[in-house]
């Protein structure tokens, strides 16, 4: 059939049947949304919701201005928080690096035993939030910074381990082949063929996790694991809103600084 003929076929992106199904799908979504909204708001006391702007404004006015003089009692907890994040990250790295090499399919010494174990540890660590780790550890070790450091470390293992083992699995096989062909031993193949390839990813992942840990360690105090979160908890309980606002500002400042440091470092190594 030539293009000039009157009966050029009509092209459509979707068949009529598929268009109908698409419409039905959207309709079902809207119906589901309406039903969910009904269920969700069954027990909502609307008077409170309508009053929300007033309540927010009230708390805002109580919290402002922040009580700057309280700052002198925050330096200590702030320092604790940063130390908790840093030491926790370091401890996490120390445990995550060997795990990552055991978990990566191209470097694991035993596919059937060690690899599943390493993967399980990584998943277990990842599936539990550091706040929950802290709750557990506070009840085991008692309140304080140590529980916080360990909580941060245990959560970091999974994060660093997973990203690092993925980086190891993505390494270029030909470089490994070339090092093998020189007669290098297994440990030399690892340090020459694989480590240089994953080093930038390793630095990036570690600094990124440290940055996240600064944020996480600032709330661990809520469950008794030390740091600035403990101060926040105490201030909230005594309704000391000017202190709360100051603490939130301090946390915000710390996070901005850590994010800036992390971005700088990652930019430098990649």
């Amino acid at each position: 059939m030539s293009i000039a003929s009157a009966e050029t076929p009509i092209w459509q992106h979707r068949t009529p049947r598929r268009r109908l199904m698409l419409w039905a799908g959207w309709l079902a979504c809207v119906a589901l949304f309406v039903w969910c909204w009904e269920r969700m708001t069954q027990r909502t006391i609307w008077a409170f919701v309508w009053d929300a702007p007033n309540a927010a404004a009230d708390i805002g006015s109580r919290a402002f201005p922040p009580r700057w003089s309280y700052m002198e009692r925050l330096w200590g907890p702030l320092w604790d928080t940063i130390n908790m994040a840093t030491l926790g990250t370091l401890l996490g790295i120390v445990m995550a690096v060997p795990l990552a090499f055991l978990a990566a399919s191209n470097t694991t010494p035993s596919r059937l035993i060690l690899r599943p174990i390493a993967l399980f540890i990584i998943v277990a660590s990842r599936s539990i939030n550091s706040l929950i780790w802290a709750l557990l550890l506070v009840s085991i070790l008692g309140p304080g910074i140590l529980a916080g450091i360990l909580a941060i470390a245990l959560r970091s293992i999974g994060f660093i381990g997973k990203l690092l083992y993925e980086a190891i699995e993505e390494t270029d096989i030909s470089q490994v082949e070339a090092i093998t062909a020189t007669g290098a031993s297994q440990s030399q193949i690892l340090t020459y063929g694989i480590v240089p390839q994953v080093l930038p990813a390793f630095y990036g992942i570690s600094v990124f996790r440290w940055d996240i840990n600064i944020r996480e360690s600032s709330i661990l105090g809520l469950v008794g694991a030390g740091g600035i979160g403990a101060q926040l908890n105490a201030s909230l309980n005594t309704l000391a809103w000017p202190q709360v606002s100051l603490i939130i500002l301090v946390i915000l400042g710390t996070v901005i600084v850590s994010e800036w440091v992390s971005a700088k470092v990652r930019h430098a190594v990649i």
Partner: protein, 275 residues
């Protein structure tokens, strides 16, 4: 001297990559291994140093049968087999010098290699080799800062740092432009002459193979279908290896390329003299 007897490789999938390949590589001979993609050229080279395990057959290198070696002995044997790769396979984030020294990994212990404290003789030799391949000025640059041709020269220096008795060369020019390809091939052949090294060069480019090898082996779906001097590559033989194609036109075109290159070189020399 290398002697291969009845080398066969069947992959787990049942694909027969090599069947019953036998030949000898005397000292100083450059063997061009040609054949279409999937003919088993790469597999053959990798079966020699056992980056791929052969299914059966013998590979004798100086009275040692490589396929029978256990891992420790295999490492010692690999030290004397230099390998040069298609995509250079340098450790991209290490310096040129570290890459050349990595050719010594089989000879030095773990901590020495880890802390980069190589023996003085190795370092002196590495500088000699860098000078030989013309990269003296680039010793402390990172490998990924070099051009393709320069990287391949580093690859050559790394293989030579092993003080090899045999060179295995896998598509050395496949990622290079025609002119750089010729320079690299020329360098490889010169080095084999200087050191009286046997080399097996796995190569796609029939014309380059003809120009630079002493002997051609043609593979076709895992079997040797040709073994002879480059001049023996007639139209009929090439058709047997690769299938129907206008081979005469291709060879003529290539000789024109070579002439153009020679002319360009002469022109450049004239300009230099004028300066």
């Amino acid at each position: 001297m290398l002697r291969i007897e009845g080398l066969t490789k069947t992959y787990k999938t049942g694909d027969k990559a090599l069947s019953d390949v036998s030949f000898e590589a005397p000292q100083g001979q450059v063997i061009g291994l040609i054949g279409p993609s999937g003919a088993g050229k790469s597999t053959l080279i990798r079966c020699i140093n056992r980056l791929v395990e052969p299914s059966s057959g013998a590979v004798w290198l100086n009275e040692v049968n490589l396929p029978t070696l256990r891992s420790g002995e295999l490492r010692r044997a690999r030290r004397r087999i230099g390998m040069i790769f298609q995509e250079y396979a340098l450790v991209e984030r290490l310096t040129v010098m570290e890459n050349v020294l990595s050719g010594r990994l089989g000879y030095v212990g773990f901590w020495r290699s880890f802390t980069r404290r190589y023996p003085g003789a190795d370092i002196a030799n590495a500088y000699r080799l860098l000078d030989r391949v013309g990269l003296m000025a680039h010793a402390d640059k990172r490998a990924d800062a070099l051009s393709g041709g320069q990287r391949q020269r580093v690859g050559i220096a790394r293989a030579l740092a092993q003080n090899p008795e045999l060179l295995l060369i896998d598509e050395p020019t496949a990622s290079l432009d025609p002119k750089t390809s010729r320079q690299i091939m020329r360098l490889i052949v010169e080095i084999c002459r200087e050191r009286n090294l046997p080399a097996i060069i796995n190569i796609h480019d029939v014309v380059l193979a003809q120009q630079f090898s002493d002997r051609i082996i043609g593979l076709q779906s895992g079997r040797m279908v040709f073994d002879g001097p480059p001049s023996g590559l007639t139209e009929a033989v090439l058709t047997q290896i690769y299938g129907e194609e206008d081979w005469t036109a291709m060879q003529k075109g290539a000789s024109e390329d070579a002439e153009a290159e020679a002319e360009e070189k002469a022109q450049a020399e004239k300009m230099l003299r004028a300066l």
